[in-house]
Amino acid sequence: MKTVFELSSPGRMGVSLPELDVPAAPDLPAGLSRGSEGKTGLPEATEGQVLRHYVNLSTMNHHVDKGMYPLGSCTMKYNPKLHENLARIRGLSGIHPLVPPALAAGSLELMYRLGEFLCEITGFEGVSLQPAAGAQGEFCGLMLIKSYHESRGEPNRNEILMPDSAHGTNPATATLADCIVVGVESNEFGLVDPDDLRRKVGPNTAAFMLTNPNTLGLFESRIEELTSIVHEAGGLNYMDGANMNALLGIAKPGEMGFDVCHLNLHKTFSTPHGGGGPGSGPVACIEELAAFLPDPAVILEDDGGYKLCRKQNSFGRLLAFHANTGVLYKAYAYIRTLGAAGLREVSEIALINANYLKAKLGDYFDNPFDNGPCMHEFVLSGDRQAEQGVKTLDIAKRLLDYGFHAPTVYFPLIVHEALMIEPTETESLEDLDSFIEAMISIAEEAEEKPYLVTDAPVNTPVLRLDEVKAVKDLCIVEPVRSVGQAPGEGENL
């Protein structure tokens, strides 16, 4: 499709603005000014043209409201429509973050209560709603842990232990927090090997970072043993709570020996992903860590008012303002809509849906870690199909032809040709059955007509895209062209 820049014609405009109603001030000094001819290169198009352009673009997207999105680890559940309206109520969306707290009492009350809900759900005492996404929550958690060790005179503790199945943000966050990653091996059941953990902990252990259920969708059954090993060595336990959709009202991280965890509101608590964000990654923790939480924290005062204050030993600030507040509004709405029984139902059905898919697909795809029930997701291997020359990437692309989004592929790294499938609780049995049919028919195609799979996708707005070329012939901005110039003749600004 043409780019928005190609719609441009001098003089068009997509807005009407009031006339300047005050006397003009003297111009900026020439040296500081872009100059009256200094163009910004923005397009000139009418409102209708702009709308049509982006509406047409939008039709090329797959999305949850259109069809199933079984992207493992991402919890692509339905996003309630009401929440979009609520977050847009003017009193909530139109308020400046630096107004005196008494003038933002509604937002603060909501934030305070959301914090309490999240503590109850996770079994912790302290909470910060500030982190903008899971990865920033991880950074926040590790900063709490580092502050804790420093406050106890152990600044040397800088090793973060994590299994080889960890999400990429875990090791990347450890680096950002100036820590060293120490890998812990998984055993033949896909669970952390306690003996290896025992070998790896020591006087430099800052924390053990674990996703539970882990990235294979398996609950770490020996969790008590694992967290005790770390505690005995003087370290703390961090839970990556990206998979909390499996545990709502079922179990609490705070009771399993974890000291801190983050939650992804944009997964478990139904706030939309927006094509890659905004998210929100609140962090909940034990009392001993709460003193270090980021600035500001929402406090309930004796007179019933709310205020924002800096905790005495706060490690600092992660964002310019309080949080991705608009996302918090939606997560609050979700918890208020469901209540305790509704949240438990979410996890129960998430587990049933995942186990149902696992059971139905077991005959057609390899499942290297099938030793009993999975939690909210599971990981298949495309090894069997790979032998026929059909890779997991091909299976993913073929699913697009059948109208489904693909599972997460090639993650976790400990499974060959991994296909990580998370249906979520908002898929109906009928839709799950259609997905199963599609997967089975792709498995059959892989045997009988592999080219159908390796040529996929064919029913999508574009065919398979060349990622190697995208890197080699890097084109990441639209070149500026003057009228009459042929494509490619232009130069970058």
């Binding site: 780019t3 139109g94 109850e120 990441i476």
Partner: protein, 451 residues
């Protein structure tokens, strides 16, 4: 059964049978008995759609600050948002999609973000931009880390006129024993003290100088001498730019910036009590491979048609893990879409008009306030944009509180600059009538409140 969960008792039973489980609890076998919750979570009883709407309206009513006329800024601004923008943001196709990992069914998101990258690059005068960072402050912090990676130096010089909240975020991201942050003070006119900067930079240890443009006090700095200074000492020049000022100002790229980071809230995103906003980051092309965050690239499909994909992914955490350029994964993609729609609607002329009205209206207010006895400038004649620091003859905290009674959010007290110092912002949304009433109310408070 909630309205979000379609599988009720009938389906449940059928599915459990297919799984080979007698009851749901069988699926919890891997969860040790002692960790299985015996009691329900202690949460309030569920609300219906209607009841929840009422509760939210009550929250909104308690946010009385939203009804006041806003002259506050300091990183979040009350700008006009065209109605058409939200119609695009509310399209399920955009907001209920995930990160565009499967490019063939994500061309909408991918092309829109490619266009966003282009607009940010053009506005800042840079070669390329990423998509996106969490907010302006974290983008500035990531820009510092990027400069340190590129130069292999471990010191950052930060203008003392940087937004203090942003400085705090930078300090958090750079909190390591081997990293050093030094502040370059500003002169009486609010611009950077270049003499001290030259001293601080002499040892050649600085990875970068970071300057805000316009700075925290709304003042417009001449970037060129700073660029020359840091380049002479083999460091990079980071500019934290306000995009709304850029249609009027010499672009950071033209003035020698190597990395430009900033906050995109002003371009079509509501203030929403602090977020979600969006951090942007732009750079010279030769630095593209060191950038954090997502980058979209153009390519072709098997039939030679143009299409878009996530590119330069080997920088990112899912591939490079502990050696990645950043840990960022989910970002603020939908806010990038808000920016690109806003900028498309505004276009060349509209965005320049917005910028120019902010400039003229803030100057009008400043000029009129100076007519009130006892009100004075803090930074002399230094040019400013949209926001200015001014000194009142009463305590600025008192003024702020009294102005609330008159219906105004008068500004942000900056007591570091003096007891009466206030940072005041005027966007294009403020009408002459509102500005004149502000002046009247401020004059009244100043007259009566000198005690």
């Amino acid at each position: 059964m909630s309205r979000f969960v379609p599988n009720g008792p009938a389906q449940r039973e059928k599915m459990l049978r297919a799984i080979g489980a007698a009851k749901f609890e069988d699926l919890l076998e891997p969860v040790p008995e002692k960790f299985r919750l015996k009691e329900k979570l202690q949460l309030p009883e569920p609300l219906s759609e209607f009841e929840l709407t009422c509760e939210f309206e009550e929250f909104a009513r308690k946010n009385t600050g939203a009804d006041l006329v806003c002259f506050m800024g300091a990183g979040a601004y009350d700008h006009f948002i065209p109605a058409a923008a939200d119609h695009i943001l509310l399209r399920s196709e955009f907001y209920t999609a995930y990160t565009p990992y499967q490019a063939e069914v994500s061309q909408g998101t991918l092309q829109a973000i490619f266009e966003y990258q282009t607009m940010i690059a053009r506005l800042t005068g840079m070669d390329m931009a990423n998509a996106s960072m969490y907010d302006g402050a974290s983008a500035a912090a990531e820009a510092c880390l990027m400069a340190m990676r590129i130069t292999r130096k471990q010191k950052i010089l930060v203008a003392g006129s940087l937004n203090p909240g942003w400085l705090e975020v930078i300090r958090t991201y750079l909190k390591r024993d081997d990293f050093e942050i030094s502040e370059i003070p500003y002169l009486d006119d609010g611009t950077l003290d270049l003499a001290i900067a030259s001293e601080l930079i002499k040892d050649g240890a600085a990875a970068a100088i970071l300057v805000q443009y316009p700075n925290y006090f709304g003042l417009i700095e001449d970037l060129q001498p700073v660029a020359d200074l840091i380049h002479e000492h083999k460091g990079l020049f980071i500019v934290a730019a306000d995009p709304v000022a850029l249609p009027l100002l010499r672009s950071p790229g033209d003035a020698g910036a190597d990395i430009v980071a900033g906050e995109g809230q002003s371009m079509g995103i509501p203030m929403s009590y602090g977020g979600p906003y969006i951090g942007f980051m732009a750079a010279r092309m030769k630095l593209a491979r060191k950038m954090p965050g997502r980058i979209i690239g153009r390519t072709t499909d098997r039939a030679g048609q143009t299409g878009y994909v996530l590119t330069l992914q080997t920088r990112e955490q899912h591939i490079r893990r502990n050696k990645a350029t950043s840990n960022i994964c989910s970002n603020q993609a939908l806010m990038a879409l808000a920016n690109v729609i806003y900028l498309s609607l505004m276009g060349e002329k509209g965005f320049r008009e917005i910028s120019s009205q902010c400039y003229h209206k803030s100057h009008y207010l400043e000029k009129k306030l100076l007519e009130i006895p006892g009100v004075s400038r803090i930074f002399g004649n230094t040019p400013f944009f949209r926001e200015f620091a001014i000194s009142f003859p009463v305590s600025s905290i008192e003024l702020r509180d009294r102005m609330i009674e008159h219906g105004f959010l008068a500004g942000i007290p900056v007591v570091e600059l003096g007891e009466g110092a206030m940072l005041v912002t005027v966007t294009e949304k403020r009408t002459r009538d509102e500005i004149d009433r502000y002046i009247g109310a401020a004059a009244q408070v100043c007259r009566g409140g000198s005690a």
